[in-house]
Amino acid sequence: MTAPVLALSAVTRRFGEIEVLHGVDLALQAGEVHALIGENGAGKSTIMKILGGFLQPTTGQVLLDGEPAAYRSGPAAEAAGIVVIHQEFNLVPDLSVAANIFLGREITRGPRLDHKAMADAAAALLARLDTPIRPGALIRDLSVPDRQMVEIAKALSRRARVLIMDEPSAALTRREVESLYAQVDRLRAEGVALLFCSHRLDEVARLADRITVLRDGSVVGRAVRGEMTEDGMATAMVGRELSDIFPAKAASFGDELLRVDHLNVAGAVPVRDATLTLRHGEVLGIAGLVGSGRTELAEAIAGLRRSDGRISVRGAPTQIGSPADAARAGIAYLTEDRKEAGLLLDKPLTQNLTLAALGSFGFRIDAAREAAAMADATRDFDIRAASPDMQAGSLSGGNQQKLLLAKTMLTEPRIVIIDEPTRGIDVGTKQQIYRFVRSLAAEGRGVIVISSELPEVMGLADRVLVMRQGRIAGEVAGDAITEENIVRLAMGVAGGAGGAGSTRQDETRKEPA
Amino acid sequence: MIRRNLLKLTVAAAALSMAAGQALAQDAAAAEPVVIGVSIPSATHGFMGGLNWHAQQTIDRLGAANPNVTFVLATAGDAAKQVADIEDMLATRDIDGLVVLPFESEPLTDPVKQVKAAGKFVTVVDRGLAEEGIEDLYVAGDNTAFGRVAGEYFRDNLKAGGKIVVLRGIPTTLDNERVEAFQAALEGSDKQILDMQHGNWNRDDAFNVMQDYLAKYPEIDAVWAADDDMAVGVLEAIAQAGREDEMVVVGGAGMKEIVKRIMDKDPQLPVNVTYPPALISSAIEMTALHFMSDAPMAGRYIIGSQLITPENAERYYFPDSPF
C-alpha cells in the first residue's frame, strides 16, 4: 500500500479539562473514499477540524504525504490542497453563485473582475454536477439543497487533493444525491482522497471503500468495503444491539382533532386545495420531494404564512392568522430550520426553552420556575448539556433538536407538526426522538411528521399523505405504506398500488357531496 | 476702506430704499424684472436665527414695495448644500444679483466666483471669501472689534487683579479673531484670564462649562460669554451656584432679552457688545438699490462693534426680533 496522502497519528485533543479524542489513527489514501461514522459527540467534527487545519492536536501528529503537516489554519490547509465542506454553509447570501465559487480567488483581467470567465467556469462546474442552478443566481434565492450543490462546486473548483465532507447529502433530494454520488466516484477515479461523515448508513455502504467507526473519541472499528453491514455499523456506533429503531404504531385513534379544508397558500411553491384530517393519538406523515409544498402547508397551519381555506380544531372553525393564533388553538410547529428559525443560538438553553411559553411564567419571569422547567426538560428529553447557561449553538445537533422539542412541548400543544425531525442527527438520538413522537401520540395529541427520509415516514406514521407540486397527491395507510407506493405518488407515476391497507390518489378522489 | 457704524448704514440704506421705492413707483411699468438670490446658513443658533429673521423681514418689505424685484431665499445646513443652492440659483432661477453669507470661506469661493463670472452682482456678507476682489460689495461685522471692545471694558472696569473666565464659540477663524483681540486688549493689564473652554455658542454647552468653572475656581470676577446664547446658560449656572453677586457677565451680539436687562440696569449684566444680525438687511437693501437706483453700490462696509450700556441700550432693543 502506498503512503497515505493525509493521516492522523496517535492524535489526542483536549478542550480544557476534557479530552475528546484519545489517540486516534486515521489514514486517507489517494483514490479512496473513507467514511467516518459515529454518534453525535463521538469526535467526528473534531477530527475533521484537525484535518482541515481549524484545530491543532494536543498531542500526536497530522501527516501530509508522510511528513508532519505545516498548515495551522483553514486557508493554509486549502492552499495545501485540503478542502472541507462544512455542514453549515459557508456562502455569502447576497452574492451570486459564481461570485461565491470564486470568493477570495476571483479571476481578474487587470484590475477589473472578469465576470464572464467566472460565470463560464462556474457554469462548467455546475454542469459537471448535473444541476440546473444558474451561475448568476443569488445564494439567498436558492433552496438548501441547491446551496449544498454550490458548496460542492466550490470545493471542486479548489482542485482538492483531499476533500472532507460533513453530511454532504443531508439536505439533498434523491436526484441530487445521485449526482453527488457520481461526483464522488469521479473524484475517486481522479485520485482524490475523500473523507466523509454521514448518518445515512446506506450511503456509507454505497460509497465507502474504508470505514472507521468512532465512539467516545476512540476508534472502535475499522472495515473495508463489504466487511460491515449497516446493522453492524449501527451496533458498532452505539456499542449495543439496536432493537427495532421505530416504536410500535398505535392500534386505535380518537376523534378528529384537526381538519384542513381546501387550503391555498401563496409562495414560491404555492399549495393548492390541500385537505387533510388528523385524529387524536395519530401520527400523520407527509412525504414528497423537497419543494413539493410540505413545509409551506405546515407553516400555513401554524400561522406563519398567509392562507385561505378552512381550518377546524376539534370541530370548531378556527381563524389562524398569526403564530399566536395557532398557539392559542394548540398548534405547535417544529421548524426544519433549527439554526435559523428554531433556536437562538447565542442565548442560554433556558431562555430558548421558555421563549414560546413565556406567557405562563408571569410578566415578571419567575426565575425559579424557569430553572425548574429546564431541569424537567433536561430529564424528560435527555438533553445532554454541560450547563443550562451554555449557549444553544454549542449543543450537538441531536441535543439542539431535543431542546427544540422540549421548547415546543412547553406550550402544551394538542397538535404538533414536526418538519424533518431527525435531520443531521445520529442513529441513537433518532431512536429517542421517534419514541418521543410516538409517546406524544399516545398521550392523545395529534402529530404530523414531515420528512424526506422515506424509512422515517414509513416507520413512524400511521397514515402518509404524499405531496407533489403543491398538491396532496394521495394518501396511503396501514400496510399500503410502502416505498413503492409513496414514490409513485411523489413522482406522479400512476399505477397499481397494492396491499392490505388503503391507497388513494387525489386524481381519482371524489369529494363527498 | 469705508467704515461706518451700523446705525448710519441702516439709516442710509433705509433712505435709499425709500428713494428707490419711490423711483420705482414712478415708472413701475418700465422697470426691468430683477431676481436677487439670498443664500445664508440656516437658523442653527440664536444669532443665525436672528439673521434669518432679519433677512426674511427685509425680503418681505422690499418685495412688497417693489413688485418687479423677486427674491430667492435659500438656507443651508452645511457648505455643500450652500454650494448646490447657489448653483441652482444661477442655473434655474436666472438671478441678477446674489447676496451670500458663506458657510465657510474656502468651499464657497469658487462657486461665488462662477456667479461673478456670469456677470452677476455679488454681495458677500460677514465671512470673506478666500480670494479677494470677487465681490462687488462686502458687508461684515468686525470680529476683532468685537473681542477688543469686550477686552477693553474688562481692562478699564474690573477691579485690580480681576479674574476672568472665557467661553469660546465653535472652533473657527472667526472665534480665533475675537479671542485674540480680547487677549490683546487685556495684555499688560493686571487682569487675569483663568480659563478658556468651548461653549460652542450653545446654551446647554455653556451651562455645563460654566458649572465646571464654578466647581473649579472659588474666585471669579467676570465671565466673557462672547455670545448671548451662551450668556443665558452661564447666568443659569451662576444662579444655581448662588454666586450671582460675585461676578459680572458680558455676552455679545445683543440678544433682546439681554439688552432689556441692561436697560433695566441689571448689576450682573453691565454691558454687551454688538454684532448685529441686522447686517444682512443692509446687505440685501444695498444690493436691491444697485438695481433700482443710479447710486454706485460697491466697496467694503465694516460694521463696527459697539458697547451697549444702560445709557444707550434702548437703541439696540428690537422686541419683535426672535433674537
Binding site: 398569526s322 | 437658523a43 440664536g46 436665527g49 473652554q197 446654551r203 455645563n208 465646571d212 473649579k216
Partner: protein, 323 residues
C-alpha cells in the same frame, strides 16, 4: 465551572472607575458633592434617552431622531404652557398639563417612528433619519428661527424640578436612577425584555416562537419616545428655553453610551446597567476635561474618542480557540 465574568459590563466599569480616580487626582474639586451632583444631573437627559435606546437597539433597531424629538417636544411643551398661562394661571396645574403634553407627544412621536418601521416596513435608519430632520425643522419653525422661552412666572415655579431635590441629589438624578432600575428590571426579568432580546438575536426564531415581533418592536419605539418626553420634562426647567440648537447630537451620544455599555449594535444583547455606565463615562470625560487643564480644548473630542474606543476594546470577550 468557574463563574463567568461579564466582560461587556466589566470593561466599561473599569473605564468609569479609572476616570473617577483620574478626576479625583487631577482636581480635588471633582469629588465635591456639588460637582458630582452637576455631572449626574447633566447625565440625566442623555441617560433617560439612552435607557430607551438600549431597548430599541437590542431588538435590532435604531432611532436617530431622539435629539430632534427632544428639541421639538421642549418647544411644543413651552408653547403649550405659554398659551395656557393666561387661561389657567401661572401655577402647577399649567406645568402639569405641559408635562403631560411632553409625555404624550413623546409617545406619539415614538409611535410614528415605530409604525413606519414595523407597519410600513421601512429601515429604521431611514425612518428616523427622516423624522430627525422633520422634528428639527419643526422646532426651528415653531421658534421662528430663534428661541422659545418659557413664561417667566412659570419658569420660576418650574425651575426647582431641575435644580432641587433631596439635598444635593436633585430630581433629574432621582428620576434617572429610578428609570435605570426599572429599565434593568424590564430587560432582565420580564417577558417584554426577553422578547426584545430574542427578536434582536434572531427575529425569525422569535416569530416562529409565536412572539408578536412587530408589536414588541413598536413598543420599544414608544417606550423610547416616552423617555424622550420625560427627559424633556427635566430639560425645560433648566434653561426655560428651546431652539433649533437644542439636543443637537444627543442621538449620537445616546447611541455611543449604549454601545459603550456593552449592548450589541446588531441587537440581541441588551445591558441597561452598562448603558448607565456608558452615559456616566461620557459626562465624566467632559467634566474632567473642563476641570483639569491637561490638553488643549481643541483635543477634547479626541480624548472622548479614545476613551469610547478603549471602553469597547476592554469588553471584548476572550473566546475559546474555536472555529
Amino acid at each position: 465551572m468557574t463563574r463567568r465574568i461579564d466582560f461587556h459590563l466589566l470593561g466599561p466599569l473599569v473605564a468609569l472607575i479609572g476616570l473617577f480616580i483620574l478626576g479625583a487626582l487631577l482636581n480635588p474639586a471633582f469629588l465635591a458633592p456639588a460637582n458630582l451632583s452637576n455631572v449626574l444631573a447633566r447625565s440625566a437627559f442623555i441617560g433617560l434617552i439612552a435607557v430607551g435606546m438600549t431597548f430599541v437597539i437590542t431588538q435590532g433597531g435604531l432611532d436617530l431622531s431622539v435629539g430632534s424629538m427632544a428639541a421639538f417636544l421642549a418647544g411644543a411643551m413651552i408653547m403649550v404652557m405659554n398659551w395656557l398661562a393666561p387661561i389657567t394661571g401661572e401655577n402647577w396645574s399649567t406645568i402639569l398639563i405641559g408635562m403631560a403634553a411632553a409625555l404624550l407627544g413623546g409617545v406619539l412621536a415614538g409611535w410614528v417612528n415605530g409604525a413606519l418601521v414595523t407597519k410600513a416596513r421601512i429601515e429604521a435608519f431611514i425612518v428616523t433619519l427622516g423624522t430627525m430632520g422633520i422634528f428639527r425643522s419643526l422646532v426651528t419653525w415653531l421658534a421662528d428661527g430663534g428661541t422659545l422661552s418659557l413664561d417667566s412666572g412659570l419658569r420660576g415655579l418650574y425651575r426647582p424640578v431641575y435644580f432641587s431635590g433631596i439635598g444635593w441629589i436633585t430630581w433629574p438624578i432621582i428620576v434617572f436612577a429610578a428609570v435605570a432600575i426599572l429599565g434593568e428590571w424590564l430587560m432582565r426579568h420580564t417577558r417584554f425584555g426577553r422578547h426584545v432580546e430574542a427578536i434582536g438575536s434572531n427575529d425569525r426564531v422569535a416569530r416562529y416562537s409565536a412572539v408578536d415581533v412587530e408589536r414588541v418592536r413598536l413598543q420599544t419605539y414608544v417606550l423610547l419616545g416616552a423617555l424622550v418626553g420625560l427627559a424633556t420634562i427635566l430639560y425645560v426647567p433648566r434653561l426655560g428655553s428651546a431652539s433649533g440648537s437644542t439636543g443637537v447630537l444627543w442621538e449620537l451620544e445616546a447611541i455611543a453610551a449604549v454601545i459603550i455599555g456593552g449592548t450589541a449594535l446588531k441587537g440581541g444583547r441588551g445591558r441597561v446597567w452598562g448603558t448607565v455606565v456608558g452615559v456616566l463615562i461620557l459626562s465624566l470625560i467632559d467634566n474632567i476635561l473642563n476641570l483639569a487643564d491637561i490638553v488643549s480644548p481643541y483635543l477634547n473630542g479626541a480624548i472622548q474618542g479614545i476613551i469610547i474606543v478603549l471602553a469597547v476594546v476592554l469588553q471584548r470577550e476572550k473566546r475559546p480557540a474555536e472555529v
